[in-house]
Symmetry: C2
Subunit: 239 residues, 2 copies
């Protein structure tokens, strides 16, 4: 696999699969990084492996980190994942599925990985529109992270390897992300977004992530390949 190396944070969801496809289309050799962080939706790790293989990445590593040391999120602790919230409820405030400092931690591992593989570019699939209220998905956060990163590493200090944090989805709607991924040939049936899947891997259809995903396919006019445990009703369009 040729091209400049780039680290891509790959969760196994729809967004990061599209980001990885964008990095490939831009000519990068993709070094994909996933995290086994005690998430209850571990099916996304298998999805990440499928996506990485399908895309022909240069390398795919999974870092084991224990975010349960903090508890306090419905994604890692024994809290109920909220279901069937309205667009207003999703847009209003930060939900219990928020994991403290998660993107900061993920980007920090990506920064270390980037230094090891001599990558100057780090891709992350954050999105400020349908961002479900997470503060570490905003453009000002990404810019501040990049500035810090360029003071943090041996490569940035000794070499000329300025680090760029690339967030190509940041201004896109979920429908635009679906369309872009579709155009790039992403097989979305490989991806997983649900925060609270059934034991057979089917999506719950009711968590914020399922609702936003379903709305994205509906608005993009692209068939949703997701297998839902029960029929989902996409959240209404206007927040």
């Amino acid at each position: 696999m040729n091209g400049k190396p780039a680290v891509v944070l790959l969760s196994g969801g729809l967004d990061s699969a599209t980001v990885a496809a964008i990095a490939r289309a831009d000519g990068y050799a993709v070094y994909a990084l996933s995290f086994d962080y005690g998430q209850r939706h571990r099916h996304e790790l298998e999805a990440a492996s499928r996506v990485a293989t399908a895309l022909g990445v240069a390398e795919h590593r999974t870092a084991v980190i224990d975010l349960r040391v903090f508890g306090a999120s419905a994604l890692t602790a024994d809290l109920d994942v909220p279901k069937h919230r309205s667009a207003d409820e999703i847009a209003d405030g930060i939900p219990v599925t928020y994991v403290p400092a998660r993107n900061t931690i993920f980007l920090s591992f990506a920064l270390g990985y980037a230094e090891v593989v001599s990558a100057a570019d780090i891709f992350i699939g954050v999105n400020a529109l349908d961002y479900s209220g997470y503060p570490d998905c905003r453009p000002e956060y990404v810019a501040a992270y990049e500035r810090m990163a360029n003071l943090a590493t041996k490569a940035a200090v000794e070499g000329d390897a300025r680090v760029t944090i690339r967030a190509p989805l940041i201004d896109m709607t979920k429908a635009e992300i679906v369309s872009r991924g579709h155009d790039l040939g992403v097989d979305f049936s490989m991806t997983r977004s649900c925060y609270d899947p059934s034991s057979d891997g089917s999506a719950c259809g009711g968590c914020d992530s399922c609702l936003l995903r379903a709305r994205g396919f509906a608005e993009a006019g692209i068939a949703d390949p997701t297998v839902y445990a029960q029929p989902t009703r996409p959240v209404e369009t206007s927040p």
Copy 2:
């Protein structure tokens, strides 16, 4: 334990033990955070527990994270730790004991922990003088990290909990750190600094960390309680 909560990164070494004592002396309730990151010098984790207990911390958590996913450092991979380097050699460039993005990763976990325990202050024992050439020990790095942190978390976005990264040792020599810790009653015999200890826990006396530590005690005029596997010769003073 009373006082405002503060997260203190506690490695079990001389520096972080002094930092924790400073935080206690400043009236903070200390939430100590250590990392089991696959380091070859795991004896420091036992030292961290001893120090935490002696200081009377509010809580001590150890996060398990696997930095070996990156390899590439003498602290985590099967590389030789350099021994008996001169002060010039230690001051010149970044050594193989550098772990990519380590402080960035540690601070990111501290940020998550701080949010969970509602702490606005994070203490880290970085030091720009005897810093052994690590880029993520410099004041401009710490300032950039703080700026990013205040855009990253739910507490910073929804509340008024501005995060402050406190690095009280950043301008101190190792001798000044030893003196300060001594004045605050830190029992340095509990701490461990060696990068390459013997199986009985004694320090090698030759790695950069041993040499800098021994010099610190010598220059401070304070007896060095460290048990060395072989006699150490403190690195000469002037770099």
